[in-house]
Amino acid sequence: MSFRNRKVSKKDILMKSRVLLFISLSLVFFLTWSSIGWSLAPREEAETTAQYLATLLNVGRLIVDRNQTLINDPRKGDKGFTPEVFEHEVVNEFTRQTHMDLKHLPSHLPSLAKELLPLLLQSSKEVVADAQFVINQRGIGYKNFIPATFGSQAARKFSNRSHVKIKQTTLNPRNLKNTPDAYEENVLKRLAAQPASNTAIIEWIDNETTLRAVTPIYYSQDCLACHGSPKGILDISGYPREGAQEGDLAGAISVQIPVKSR
């Protein structure tokens, strides 16, 4: 009996050591896998957020562009282009482009995007509110409330309130505050050399701690009144025209998200 018992004990010990080895390996595997998972989550979150932010700023620019004739109408005083009307049109257009309602953001959306999209919408609305006096001047045609000036102000207001930086940039900026940094200049040159594509260029720099997302913007027919031909002739705002053609790279919306700062 004692011999048998001794034999069983050896077997048990062997068994136990195998179980321990299995548990250890499982633990190591689980921990390794989960650590990869934890590091991926903020990256994906930042990348998704950057793309939505660029889309939202671009939608705001589009709404200003669509209302340009109304804004520049010298025969009308109160244009009715209020911050609320602007917001309504932005929400509709954003839904059309992304299938996502800005007023009821879906639960699966990254928390960073849930925090920042309303902030950018609010900043954009404030720019339209600030411009009400200019927009509603009667007897004055061109007021310089255009997609570019709207975008600059909205991006600046948003960036001042957030750790995320958003900016309009181009290789030959009219507004020197939109001058590209070294990274943006490099990406813009790459974009200018390749066929038009709406896909953003997304990269991690500074030892993977900072996300840079650059979403290209291309000239449409409407833009060419100021940016088209003949090159060098002053446009309505007093800047020399760029001589651009429809489909040329106009610039980009650049988003910069430092992940560690969160």
Partner: protein, 373 residues
Amino acid sequence: MALYYRSSILNSMIIGGLIINVGSILRGAWYGLKEYGSQGILVFLVVLGFFLQGCGLVFDAVELVQPLARDEMSAICSRGQLRVGISVEPFRPFVFPAVFTDEGVRVTGLDVELIREVVDALTTYCDGQKPIVPTLHLTRFRDLFIELNEGHLDLFVSSIGGNIPGARPAGLWYSIPYFQNGGIGAMIRTPEVAEKIRTQFQKQPGSPDTLVAVQAGLSGLTVAAQRGRTSQLYVEANLKKIRLLLCDSLPAAIEMSDPPIDVIVSTHAILDYVTKHVWPDWRLLTRNDGTPLVLTQESFSVVTVEEHRRLQWFLNNLLYRLEESGRLEQMRRRWLEEDYAPTRRAAAEGLPFEVSKVPEHYDQGQCRFATGR
């Protein structure tokens, strides 16, 4: 500024001394009268009431002895702000319509550049420790005078002519001119009007008499002038045989179609700019040799209230220095002769303004026939 601080300290000492003396007298009276019970307290309060009536006089006396501590220059220095009125009706190139820029809403023009010069000089005057910030109050032209009189503004600059009879309301002071190469001119839509004037000039033997030619040439025509501006004063005083329309702004006159306007009378430099850059359908009224027909000379001044002597001397001395150094001439050339885009200048050098002081929906207004002519 050192004088300002010294006088502040002096004033504080005087007022402090007065308070201590009056306080000790009152304390003595209180303890004396308290002994007579409630009747004594009542007497004390009645006597105190009589004394309080004179408090304003005490402060006035202190102001008289040491006025420097409360003068308008010291007030501007301590506030760190210069409250400037500027007309919401555009008088290009002196004041352009407000535009939206990358920096926000801005106004620009020769008058705005002059304001920058004034605040730069004020910053130096106030020791330069903190820059004096111009707070622009964009308001309707007619309200500028009221706002200044009510003390809401330190001064206003809006291409205001100071040498036309009847142009200076009582209680306001006009600086030496910062712009004197102008005058009152006219613009027309059809060449027939110019022909009528030219015919009148041709009828004159010897040296031409502009007033006689204009009076005869414009007779029976519909002439518009901006309400409250010097052009209205000129037309009312000199052109009796016209149909006079008074308009709230120049854009209102341009838009007026019923009745159609034959002539718009306004500042020559403004008409020169707008016929070239804004309303090319209109042309300047000229003499037979093609030179612009200026109806009378006019010079522009900075306006402040009559009592602000120190500010007045400061402005006159500054304007004289700017003229002497050629800076004013450079500014005039920059805005009147150079080819430029006002929007771009607004973005680079325009000034923000108080949105709260601006009519919610600026309307260019309308035109009405002048009554009582």
